[in-house]
Symmetry: C2
Subunit: 458 residues, 2 copies
């Protein structure tokens, strides 16, 4: 049976130029992570199912890829269960492992499992793949790379401040102009839910709030009414949603609005301290704004929350995000550890940079020079020269089969090699080489020493 040569739905191959571009982004992020005091860790691609299930809500549970037990996966399941409609029970019996859904829960598991080895505050970064059984669509894949940095074991608001600096450092180094770091605070949202008598609908409230950019203020208010908002509280909600002005003005509006909400004011106070400590001069072209409609879906956030967007010209959603979470490790039995973390979305950053033409130029191949191969008589001569160039750290290669020069030059052109070396009788007899510049077509006869000099400068 011949298998079809097709990648699985929602997954992608990357050719060399795509790998170079992706590495360019991750290396830039990595270098900022190192600059800001984070150290790398790596966790396995799959975890025991119980580590992941129940951490991302029902929708998350559904989107987690489960791995079939190896061997007799039916061993511990009764026929009755097998024939039942209880897909959850069946899958949790025939499967005991699942692919990583994000990097945060595995990190929490890591911290608890390795608590005797790590030093708090523990600053780690992790750049690894995650998998989600989402319906694939433009810019959304079933396998994608996340670049996360988290600090665990410190409640200091200096962490929030430092992550804001980190965001701007990354986007400065990637040359992405006019990014916008939006910040809000979960305690402000909790205060809002209390004042609106919607304490029990905090999750739904955040979902509706998040849509304001797409559906506008009026429809958001309508959906709040649908959630059960009393008519008398409509004016308050509109006031909240209409908060405007610079950071301090918005803070003052919030202070007035939330004067009766203890938790709300705690959130406002945190944002006020953070704002005072941020070094605005260092943010480059990145803007730092208070966005009271920012909500973030994930339920584990408890303090400040962030989202970063590229310039308004590009409609792609957030390219980085994060927030503070208290007690994430308590699901694994370790209490009272506060953490804060952010994540860069490689794919969206890639799309932004590609559309703004921000990548440096990459060739298909890193090879600097290709030796052509016209006669087996010269083979040893050529491979010794190749070996000599490589010993001088020059990426070098040869055409492996004897064929027409035309064909070999076409190949060199296709793989975008800047230089080709041609060896014929004259060169062979005089221990020299004909070096052809593939850009301008010029060629000259040179010694191996001269080749090393010319190519080392590339």
């Amino acid at each position: 049976m011949k298998a079809k040569a097709l990648t699985s739905k929602g997954t992608r191959d990357f050719n060399s130029i795509q790998v170079f571009k992706r590495d360019y982004i991750t290396n830039t992020i990595k270098s900022s992570f190192n600059k800001f005091g984070f150290s790398p860790i790596e966790t396995p691609s799959f975890e025991n199912t119980e580590t992941l299930l129940g951490k991302y809500g029902d929708e998350g549970d559904r989107l987690i890829f489960k791995i079939l037990k190896s061997g007799d996966f039916k061993k511990n399941i009764t026929d009755t269960t097998l024939l039942s409609d209880d897909l959850k029970l069946i899958s949790s019996t025939i499967s005991d492992k699942a692919l990583r859904y994000d990097l945060t829960i595995p990190f929490a598991r890591y911290v608890v499992q390795n608590q005797n080895e790590i030093n708090l505050p523990f600053k780690r970064y992790q750049i690894q793949l995650v998998w989600r059984a989402d319906r694939p669509q433009k810019g959304r894949f079933r396998e994608f790379l996340q670049c996360d940095a988290d600090v665990i074991g410190s409640k200091s608001l200096l962490q929030e401040v430092d992550f804001i600096h980190l965001f701007s450092d990354v986007f400065k180094n990637l040359n992405i102009p006019n990014c916008k770091i939006r910040i809000n605070h979960r305690k402000i949202l909790i205060g809002l839910s209390e004042i609106l008598n919607l304490e029990n609908k905090l999750v739904e409230l955040t979902v509706v709030l998040d849509k304001i950019d797409k559906i506008g203020l009026v429809k958001v208010v309508d959906q709040f009414i649908d959630l059960g908002l009393e008519e008398s509280l409509r004016p308050f909600l509109i006031k909240y949603l209409s908060i405007d002005g610079d950071f301090d003005t918005r803070l003052n509006s919030l202070k007035t609005l939330f004067k009766s909400s203890k938790v709300g004011l705690e959130g406002v106070e945190d944002l006020s301290i953070i704002n005072k400590l941020v070094i605005v001069d260092d943010l480059n072209t990145t803007k730092f704004v208070l966005d009271t409609s920012l909500a973030r879906g994930l339920s584990y956030y408890t303090g400040a929350i962030f989202e970063v967007n590229a310039s308004d010209d590009i409609d792609i959603g957030s390219i980085a995000a994060g927030g503070r979470y208290d007690d994430l490790t308590s699901v694994f039995g370790l209490n009272d550890v506060s953490g804060i973390g952010i994540s860069f979305g490689l794919d969206r950053i890639y799309i932004v940079m590609d559309s703004m033409n921000l990548f440096p130029e990459f060739n298909t191949s890193n090879t600097k020079v290709l030796f052509t191969n016209s006669n087996s008589k010269y083979t040893k001569y050529i491979i010794e020269a190749v070996s000599c160039l490589r010993a001088n750290n020059i990426n070098s290669d040869f055409y492996p089969d004897i064929s027409s020069l035309k064909k070999q030059l076409k190949y060199a052109n296709n793989i975008q090699v800047p230089y080709v070396i041609i060896v014929e009788e004259n060169e062979y007899e005089s221990s020299s080489f004909c070096l052809k510049n593939m850009k301008d077509g010029t060629q000259r006869v040179v010694s191996i020493k001269e080749i090393i000099e010319i190519l080392s400068e590339l």
Copy 2:
């Protein structure tokens, strides 16, 4: 429900020092791959099941991790099938994706799927994880990293020669001394099976042959008899297994032994050409030997086969391996494309380097300096200094919470930061900093400029 904080069986977390060591190996390999003209590609972690099944033998099929369909995985299966013992049929109905088992089959799939985009000969490298449902044991894991380089679309024996040079380049750059590249040829093994009247038992023959290091010549001959070897052919087998001496001597013995085997002589001739072209002087301390007992398990090899072992003092099996395969892409419908490839096993190389103490020294953290934090009065002063150092590309951090100097210095020590900066009233008033060298304990008061000078040299 509290989940246990435990990695799944056969998988591992890596802390920062382990990540640094692993990256040290992969970066060295990557740099050799680039030097030898290979370009990177990446393929998805999972493939459609039909892409992988049937490519690695029954044992391989068993060891492939299958991923449960998302949503209603029972939709297309009848109750009768579900209750049957046909695990293969059940799993292929409730699962349609599987985790990558090696990098070679996905590469063959890539070549066929992207055949209009690539240039033949196509040289690619791929450094990615693979997964096998093996029983975990010392040095064997369910998730591990492979570092592969392959050329597809060239039958030239210069490829074999170049891979031998590549092996030695990698181990020279990793400083692993006295490696041994063993070579043999599938055609010699086919010739052997013909002469021994065991043509139909080629796979079993290779399995037995591979054991000679462990069980010795006598037992190998016994097992050949068990396979059905006629008594009269025993002397030939013993002669074959007793081949000894340097490369040329062994080649001559093979020529004599296989004078009646056309296919056997083809293999001998290939090895003879390869041996003539290898630049022995460039192999450094790596030895290149013809090992007639080398067989390699994988069935897709058709030409030269390689295995590399570290020095005899370390009993860990091969640390790299490979071989030529014809027509691997034909399972995906693309015929007549010969390829050759090798793979470096990161985990075994890691064990060898660790046991021989070959890694450079790595600190837990890449941070060069940590600012202590004793009073909120100095906070802004400190974070501005940190920001200034980072702007000068110095990896810098601060202790986030105000606590005792003793505690903060202990933390600095634990994360292995070479310098600490202490700010008290004197420093704050005089716009200076107290720089403490954590190795020798000395400290002196310096300006930010001096800090940059001192730390830039680290």
